[in-house]
Symmetry: C2
Subunit: 187 residues, 2 copies
């Protein structure tokens, strides 16, 4: 399992075995069952997560009790309520498992420690953050420029695996459409 | 003017005079007139920009010729087509001045050089990128959870200055509503 973490980091940054051992010692390894909450709204957010296997959703429950999907994360993706993580405050969103899921977790203290003690890891986090920012900008753009049908088609093209793994009602929530609209789009 | 750059960086990271001189040597200083393009769609994106004075808009022109506002940037904000900047490819978006604007520009080469040679600057860029990511996530959330009236009120509360400086038609485009809808909201 630790080989997956090594490979994930080495996609961006070459590591010696000693460096990887040092990095690994800052991560924990956690298993969750389908429907388990990794983060619950209102709790302190101590960790961010790298998905090893499984699928999770970051959700926001609005004041009317409606659930909105902010993002999905599957193998090799990082997820957390990053606003709460970086400010070490309480979660505004929840992180819940759509499938049985295994993650590597990294506390904010260890994130800072790794960044400070290993410049390579600071570089790794910088590149990850830049990629995340770009992905968010693209999602904003798709909200501004695309209708539901186009957003559906973009997602299908970009992440075909998601369509097999995510229940239709959750996919509809991610796209910001009703279940009925999604059925029309996908038929 | 260079004092503004120093203060901007020192909001996050303490610098010696020598460090700041080294940093400053990697930036250029550029003046633009209202309506000038800093980045034009289709051109190579070499630089990102810190606004010293003025106001700019990052826009995307869709295939039907409709312009969408992805973001604004005013004093102390960074802006670019970051996807193109970080991958050193051609701009999908344009960056245009709403007011006469002065910026500090930083080439990608100098971004990498500063990151590599001064760990403090890597830390600065990491914190800026994390903040940008969080702001984008909040904007996604507001698209998912808020109607036009609520998005209007959030923006008014968060950035009251923008309302005095941005023409109504541009504000409407940012909110993803028609000019007429915005007039109803603001009356």
């Amino acid at each position: 399992m630790k080989e997956k973490l090594k490979k994930h980091i080495e996609n961006l940054i070459a590591l010696t075995d000693d460096e990887f051992s040092f990095i690994l010692s800052h991560f924990s390894y956690e298993k969750y069952k389908k429907n388990d909450f990794i983060i619950q709204e209102g709790e302190n957010v101590k960790d961010c997560y790298l998905v090893v296997t499984g699928l999770i959703k970051l959700v926001y429950d609005d004041k009317n009790g409606k659930q909105h999907i902010v993002s999905f994360a599957m193998e090799d993706w990082w997820e957390s309520d990053f606003s709460a993580y970086f400010s070490q405050t309480k979660a505004k969103m929840s992180l819940q498992c759509i499938e049985d899921t295994i993650v590597f977790s990294l506390s904010f203290k260890n994130y800072q420690k790794l960044s400070a003690e290993l410049p390579k890891m600071k570089q790794f986090f910088l590149e990850k953050s830049n990629s995340g920012y770009i992905a968010s900008q693209n999602r904003i753009l798709s909200f501004l420029t695309s209708n539901a049908k186009e957003r559906y088609e973009q997602l299908l093209k970009q992440y075909p695996l998601l369509f097999q793994r995510v229940p239709k009602i959750i996919l509809a929530s991610y796209l910001g459409v009703s279940r009925e609209t999604l059925s029309r789009l996908s038929s």
